[in-house]
Symmetry: C2
Subunit: 217 residues, 2 copies
DNA sequence: TTATTATTTTAGACAAAACTAAAATTATAT
DNA sequence: ATATAATTTTAGTTTTGTCTAAAATAATAA
């Protein structure tokens, strides 16, 4: 697997988490900031390598092999992010670009040992889950925001209560379907939280968090 | 600097440590296991980038800029080797290939922090010195093997005593001019050492080590 | 000094991964 | 249902770094 191939597999893997069925050429191109024609070239190549199934004009779908390769790249990315934050004291929002490079280092043994060195973490510093060595990501689950713990995160997929007041509140806070919410802190005694939405961090009460559904991956 | 460019600069840097004047196209090709014609192409490109001075049919010589870039790649390589051995418990002879990849990760901040995390080591696990952040390698010095400390290493450049017995002893141990000697252990009270020569490790007395000149880089 | 050998460079090709422009296909709207 | 729009693919280039084969230069030997 070349660096470019790995990046394509990774992008398609992420798109499959959000989309049913085949992933379109255009969607891949957009997510990778490249041209659709380049995507066609690469997708054909990956199909020959049995990393995905590709049908002209219909789109691509990862095979079991392709999904495993992609998950492994993501595993490496997230383990390196943990290293950068926990060991080198980077801030969690500074590590993405460096991890983007480190994720392509080729050595199974290295990742095995890095994982042990870091204490086999389950989540990266953004709260995203780290796939296990078989490439398995914990199944996606829909839960209440209130059920999340510190350092976890979810994507807003709906509300339990849908009063105008509540929706207006969410709107004011820039929370809508698809918004990523990260739990920065959680107070044990009253269930209140500090959450991060885009670049803002703010406090929310338990009343809010128990009325918001999030999808965790 | 691309990955290929960095590797060329690194190779030329190493060759300049062993050779006076210009480095020949052939020497570079051999050290990089590539064809002389490829070297010509790259060396012309690096000359345009002011990384080295190149004269047709004569060879190449690094500029101050090129030397700095090369030293920085070597610094990164050696710092990562320290990380792999000290933190991830790799054996010192397993780390080269992985460090070959890690040395190309682009981030000044990363190396600054890695260096601090490792306690700003002066030598890598093979005893090779780590250039400082300005790319400066400690000047090459000729000293007696006896003056080296544990984990340092040198290249045999001569003997103080030159009796037949001594030279025969060295011959038996496969030590000659150019042989790399690494100090694996040193006994404080009598100055005896355990040294590594190629794949062999063995004990030598102080009598031996104080009659052998080594060059340290 | 001239012939031979070794080294180095040039010229032309190739593979990977990207791009542009144009053609083909599918989807949408009247 | 057909015209228009959107998407996707194809064809042909470009760049980077490599290669082979042939030509040019330098070094060596007779």
């Amino acid at each position: 697997m070349t660096l470019a191939e790995e990046n394509y597999l990774k992008a398609i893997f992420h798109l499959e988490l959000e989309t049913e069925g085949e992933i379109s050429t255009n969607a891949i191109a957009e997510s990778m900031d490249t041209k659709p024609s380049s995507v066609t070239d690469m997708v054909q190549k990956l199909a020959e390598k049995k990393m995905l199934i590709y049908k002209r004009y219909k789109g691509a779908q990862l095979t079991a092999t392709g999904r495993k390769v992609a998950a492994n790249v993501i595993r490496k990315h997230r383990l390196w992010e943990v290293f950068l934050v926990e060991k080198l004291n980077f801030h969690w929002d500074e590590v993405h670009e460096i991890a983007e490079q480190l994720e392509h280092i080729q050595s199974e043994e290295l990742i095995t040992r890095l994982d042990i060195f870091l204490g086999s973490p389950d989540f990266d510093p953004h709260g995203d889950p780290i796939p296990d060595k078989h490439g398995v990501l914990k199944a996606t689950e829909k839960k209440l925001l209130a059920e999340l713990e510190k350092n976890q995160q979810g994507i807003c997929v709906g509300v339990k209560e849908s009063s105008a007041e509540f929706l207006q509140y969410l709107d004011k806070k820039n929370i809508s379907i698809g918004t990523k919410i990260s739990v920065i802190g959680k107070e044990f005694f009253d269930g209140s939280m500090i959450i991060q939405v885009e670049e803002d961090r703010f406090f929310i009460s338990h009343k809010i968090s128990e009325n918001l559904y999030v999808q965790t991956t």
